[in-house]
Symmetry: C2
């Protein structure tokens, strides 16, 4: 859709406020008036920029997706070995959002917007598919056997750690350990 950097200053502030409010309080629970107020902008401007709330939701998810991918890519680039790079998304998850333990923004969005025709569905599905393919690429680069199956397993582990995040069970360390074992041990 639209790129954030091509937006006007007011548009960027709106997206920033939407990112925080939608994620923290839920999409349906947050009204456009609240977003306008938090971004110091009139509701009229919001509608002039984005046309509808649904469009703003799509921009919000696309922007979060963009930031997340960039965060993961940075973690991958920071790795020394290809084997270590396979685990980079888990390291990225650890450093992504310390306090804001509200789980995955895309899974949450799907929960609130059941209509498959909503643009949020494509964005969410694309994001997970992207991560799965990244896992497969990294596994291939690290010369792991059966990279496709390994990628699916790592994706499930990743989403499981993300989904159990709001439960305050501290599952990430155990999950990362298991992922490391999966990547290291060819037998499993």
């Amino acid at each position: 859709m639209q790129d954030t950097r091509s937006l006007t200053p007011a548009g960027r502030r709106i997206v920033a406020a939407a990112e925080e409010l939608f994620y923290d309080r839920g999409i349906t629970a947050v009204g456009v008036d609240l977003i306008a107020e938090h971004s110091g902008v009139t509701k009229r401007t919001l509608y002039n920029r984005f046309g509808s709330k649904d469009q703003l939701v799509a921009v919000y998810l696309a922007e979060r997706d963009r930031r997340w991918r960039s965060h993961v890519r940075a973690a991958v680039d920071a790795c020394d070995s290809p084997a270590e790079a396979v685990l980079a998304p888990f390291e990225a998850l650890r450093t992504w959002s310390g306090a804001g333990a509200r789980g995955c923004a895309f899974i949450n969005a799907l929960a609130e917007l059941p209509d498959p025709a909503h643009p949020a569905h494509r964005i969410a599905a694309d994001q997970k598919l992207w991560l799965r393919n990244l896992f497969e690429e990294l596994a291939t680069a690290a010369d792991r056997p059966r990279p496709a199956a390994l990628a699916t397993r790592l994706l499930v582990l990743h989403e499981g750690a993300l989904a159990t995040q709001p439960l305050a069970l501290d599952t990430l360390t155990e999950t990362t350990a298991l992922a490391r074992a999966l990547v290291a041990d060819d037998a499993v």
Copy 2:
């Protein structure tokens, strides 16, 4: 809270309609008028039984939790060996809801109701904790080493399979295979 069997006939129909509608379309998106209409009951009766929509949401989640636990227990009891029983929740997940691929009702509820004071949070957290403890009990009964760590890993796998369910990637078979390997192989 209230047990379903202690409810009046109209009350049971309301809970049944709420279960279907809340799960399929989302809690916030479904109004009390729609639930009353689908259960063939007046809105007045709904409020006489449950007092508020929040209360009805809590009853809905508690009832789904009860049904899910009973489903898992049945799968556990149907197993021949203790080692097989550790994997029963994954088998239960496979036979739980074939078509309704909307992910975990409790995670979805948390996404829509961010207020930690809402009764839904306690119910959801209790459900995941119950599953984790069940995994630990089953792992102990099957004489697996480090049952606590294994239970956490199996919980993450379970939640990961559930979270990726709406994405239509068919992750459950791969996840079950990994869980089986985890239970079988003491090294990992």
